[in-house]
Symmetry: C2
Subunit: 689 residues, 2 copies
């Protein structure tokens, strides 16, 4: 393999010249890639990406060439080495936290140290009193300690109140006794804790002896404690702690998700993170949480990050799909006269377009939604300049953003797979560069609030809204949601039945009408007919989806409306994407739009044709649109999606030059146990089982 062989002289068939195809694709569109790139990401982000990219691609440890061939233990080791190296680079180049996160994103591994800079850090910042924060924060920032966040248990995830771990106050010794009373009380899934962490925030049910010495305990619910997990020198677990990695999962091979049990493990009084609540050291009295106020902003910020991340993940899958499917040709057009013509570009088939192009459009819907949430958060941060309508919107977003988490992570997770299948045979190979992204991202629909379960929160808020609005009128501080519910209440007997699919405002109103229709229907079921909550969960989920789709459509629309300095032809493409996104969503739920009277039946019948037309309009710009996502080839790590279009050369190189399996000659004869030819190994793989 190290010798040049006859494959060195071979080129792809002329029709498979990807570089020429992408040049042609880029030449046929005047979509302003650079302007959109700046518009989507901003100069600062793009500068950071370019700067960090140069540094990480200069280090061998970040090479992705062989990582898919490694064993799980080696993948963890590689992650550990990469984490260390990134931190060394951080010191060397004086990176800030965002620089570090950019590096981790480009390297495309969630590294073993990750929880120290994410959940552990937030816990220290948000749950410590000042003294605790002053003590711990510098240590974690310097990576003197590596922290994890141990909340979820083997037996309880979403239901935090059901956690089994206990923290019992011992008034005599002034200690808390942390304990895992059962096997299901074992902490579980906690990242960084399995092998890496030195410390953890341990969440346990706080129990304080009852007054009067009569025995028994009063329970105060889950509280956070900071504990040392492993010895400072040996890095072995402390004696009363059992901790380890839970083993291979779908994705995140470099991350050490943990199990952890504590056996009557004593920690001092100051281990309880005491910003909101504490136990009086002398009297053993529980000091109640202050009224913490609604932290509307924080949640909105976190959820906007989820949406923005879903956008990037989807952008990545769509970039690979659009580029490859432009280059890939298969079959000639059935209706073509000239049978000597090149085969058709696969992206020209409507069955391929209808899977990929709405996802291309969806990346923009996610972008404008995430951006609007960020802006709202920024606008409402300072004490000044807080309009009441902003605060209303923020509050509403706080309660309904569960729907955004649910829908957008589902869109991205499903979107990766849709793109993969659209790529046909080669979509199943390592050349997609999507295997690890796919496996990693599959966690999102179930973590941080299961996507189906949390839709109840949205429904609950909408039910409350319908109840409140039964008497009120729209006013200056009403949100769009309020106004749409009031509009529905007033006109429910004459539904709008919009029929002009090219009228964007009608589209917006149609989405909002559907939401209102479903909200009032749910209200009727629950509040009037008093049906069991459990019998309505599916209805609630549909309601949440409908409302969230309306939000995406509205944010998308408003994002485009506020555009200014872009060339008009580029704007036209963006508006086409808006329409494709909206009409595709309507088509998928056509029955709801019909049933609610939001859209006229005739218009629904026209949808397939309209969607086809929009796809034909967008198609010539597809490559330039994905170019505007500016995802580096190093990140994509994809033969199919590389920006220079050398798909087939790259696939062949990965197989013929890079694959370590091809350095071994095997012995396939079943009557000989030897596996590697001539090695007399006697089938030694057994020792690894």
């Amino acid at each position: 393999m190290s010798q040049p062989d006859f494959s060195a002289n071979l080129k792809p068939h002329p029709q498979a010249d990807g570089a020429a195809t992408l040049a042609q694709e880029r030449g046929q569109s005047d979509f302003d890639t650079n302007a959109i790139s700046k518009h989507l990401f901003g100069d600062k982000y793009l500068e950071r990406q370019a700067r960090i990219l140069k540094i990480v691609t200069g280090e061998k440890i970040f090479s992705k060439t062989n990582q898919a061939n490694l064993s799980r233990p080696d993948r963890y080791k590689l992650g550990l080495a990469r984490g260390k190296k990134l931190r060394q680079l951080m010191n060397e180049y004086k990176w800030d936290d965002d620089d570090f996160l950019m590096a981790e994103w480009l390297v495309d591994d969630v590294l073993p140290h990750h929880l120290n800079i994410s959940l552990f850090k937030s816990a220290i910042l948000e749950q410590c009193n000042e003294e605790q924060r002053n003590f711990w924060y510098p240590k974690l920032q310097a990576w003197e300690i590596i922290g994890a966040y141990a909340q979820t248990e083997l037996g309880h995830g979403s239901n935090v109140r059901g956690l089994e771990a206990t923290a019992t106050w011992d008034q005599k010794t002034k200690d808390f006794v942390l304990h895992s009373p059962t096997l299901t009380a074992s902490k579980w899934w906690n990242g960084t804790l399995g092998r890496t962490a030195t410390h953890a925030v341990f969440v346990a049910q706080l129990r304080i002896p009852k007054k009067g010495g009569s025995g028994g305990f009063e329970s105060y619910g889950p509280h956070p404690f900071i504990i040392r997990v492993r010895d400072e020198k040996t890095h072995k677990p402390l004696e009363s702690i059992i901790v380890g990695d839970i083993g291979p999962k779908y994705g995140y091979p470099a991350m050490d998700n943990a199990y952890m049990l504590l056996n009557q493990h004593r920690v001092p009084h100051e281990a309880l993170l005491s910003r909101y609540a504490t136990v009086n050291r002398e009297t053993g009295e529980y000091v109640k949480p202050k009224n913490t106020g609604a932290m509307y902003g924080q949640l909105t910020r976190g959820r906007s990050q989820i949406v923005m991340n879903a956008r990037l993940v989807l952008a990545r899958a769509v970039t690979v799909a659009v580029r490859y499917l432009s280059i890939r040709r298969q079959f000639r057009d059935q209706d073509a006269d000239d049978q000597s013509a090149l085969e058709e570009q696969v992206l020209n088939y409507s069955t391929v377009q209808i899977r990929v192009l709405p996802l291309l459009a969806a990346t923009f819907a996610l972008h404008y939604s995430g951006a609007a949430m960020q802006k709202l958060y920024e606008r409402t941060r300072g004490a000044n300049a807080q309009k009441e309508s902003d605060l209303n919107e923020l509050q509403e977003l706080h309660f309904t953003s569960a729907g955004l988490k649910s829908l957008t992570t589902e869109m991205a997770a499903d979107g990766i797979e849709t793109c993969r299948r659209a790529m046909g045979g080669h979509g199943y190979g390592g050349g997609t560069g999507l295997i690890q992204l796919n496996a990693d991202y599959l966690s999102k629909p179930t973590v941080e609030g299961d996507n189906w379960m949390i839709t109840q929160q949205v429904a609950r808020y909408l039910l409350k809204k319908v109840k409140e609005l039964s008497t009120s009128r729209s006013n200056a501080n009403s949100s769009r949601l309020d106004a749409s519910l009031i509009r529905f209440r007033e006109r429910s007997r004459s539904p709008p039945q919009f029929s002009d699919l090219s009228d964007d405002l009608s589209i917006l109103e149609a989405f909002e009408w559907r939401t209102a229709f479903l909200a009032f229907e749910a209200y009727e079921s629950r509040e009037v007919k008093k049906l069991p909550w459990n019998s309505l969960l599916v209805e609630f989920r549909n309601l949440s989806r409908a409302h969230t789709q309306a939000m995406l459509v509205v944010y998308f629309y408003e994002g485009l409306r506020s555009l200014d300095s872009l060339p008009s032809s580029t704007k036209t493409v963006l508006w086409d994407l808006f329409r494709l996104f909206s009409l595709s969503a309507i088509e998928k739920d056509a029955w709801q739009f019909q049933r609610s009277g939001a859209i006229a039946t005739k218009a629904l019948d026209q949808l397939p044709k309209e969607i086809l037309t929009l796809m034909q309009r967008i198609r010539p710009h597809a490559v330039r649109i994905v170019d505007s996502f500016t995802l580096p080839d190093y990140l994509l790590n994809s033969d199919l999606g590389r920006s220079d279009g050398r798909v087939y050369e790259s696939l062949f190189h990965r197989a013929h030059v890079e694959n370590p399996l091809n350095r071994i000659t095997f012995n396939p004869r079943y009557w000989e146990d030897e596996l590697v030819m001539g090695s007399r190994d006697d089938g030694h793989i057994l020792s690894k089982l």
Copy 2:
């Protein structure tokens, strides 16, 4: 870890006692598990499963404990060793081919030798002339040679006529010259060929010099040649061959999918497999294929196997989900008064039921459809007893079974993921036992005919049918499809608008009416309006789906109708499953059923309630139903889905006892390059990159 520690004394929380829960689940239902098990699989299959299971679980090499931790090269090695061992066992126990395949299924790896017993074997059986078959078949059966099937290329998959490899007849030397003229002509994806095979069937464009010596060649399209790939002694590729493994894919880590290039590689005249066509050795004349007759039966058989396999795959995912979700409890019922009650079994939530129970029902739909196809194949095999109506049905199935491949592999692939997500957090872990199944099965929607592309075949047949039927009437030999198209033609102005969702015959007819509606609509678009083929692909796909769903519903119905000796309470459950399957399918496409007039609007509005009721009726039987699939724990390899319900004990054991990562203490300090604590390894992972 080898020492007992305090975790040895811990048990799960009492509410998490899976064994007790499953006992209760099994006690609350009288669904006749044993009878259904026999009904679904037959005694012969169950006997074989039990017999082979005992043998493979007795061999250490088939232990699945650590395989998810291995590197890709080691996974291939393990596969190679397993393949050899299975063949040794085959000799020892005198297994037939079905025994061998059962063993491979239970071991749950597609092994490196697999193509020798599948595609290579079929090619030898079907494409050889008698002499060739007599020569090659005994060799492959004895595994003296290991064969692969090299058809697909880097640049062409579905479009077989577009293959680039050439086979040029040299009249002087009486040789064929096999050649790969470009990089995209490289064979690609071909299983078993990468490292294992000694031989392959090589598919290439046959070219014969034009008569008259004027130069140039006549092309005859793709033909199969048998070639030796590797040296008999050294197992190194022959000199004019470049061959290797393409590297890691989504799944199939034990399989060596190949690339292969041939450089002016000469093979003798008899290398051309000559059952249907050959080249006259003396004159160089092409001898035309005989009229091969329509091989309706073979395709039907192959497709029935795909359906039956999809059934088992889905059964496996549903078994894991139903058992785990019965045992898993989370949150109390919102409406419950007693807040000290156990938390709710997750399978009781309607949002979980609506994802899992229709898939449970779908396994039966797939079963009866696959079984009906098998029966039809058997019935039409012999020369005797062939009713014309059977032959009609077989012909129809031949042309429409692409829709079954497309829909059922999609149902199974999506179904695994739906079950996984329904399991929440633990659904993302290795404890599901679904990770490799999921990754392997994702290939199915795109291989052996891309699921979207092949729906054109169904549409093309239905367009032809509509055309033919424009004048004919229903007669004794009409298929159900014919009859339903004629019915639609005659009554298209008065659609049935069925309103009784409990009337099974109406349900069947509603599905058929929808198909007919879409078929006539597509006919109008293509044949009357003459719209471009490419603009109709999405419509065609919808039509294929509709027709295929109708087939599944009809087969399911007919399968249940022919049931006899089952207890009536068990039959009732099966009929509920039929209804759940049908009504769920209608709900997902409610707009089509409304638009076509198949079902009345009011009835469509009632669907969610009907579905909820059916799910509540089926729920108590769920565990016993999945028990009837009789999938061995060894196959499932699932902590969550094990038949004894010891979910949490098993998860903990996998993590704490089995995970090799926990045998190593790491050094997390970023200022030290050492990775394994105390090893002074200086970060040696670099050498593996």
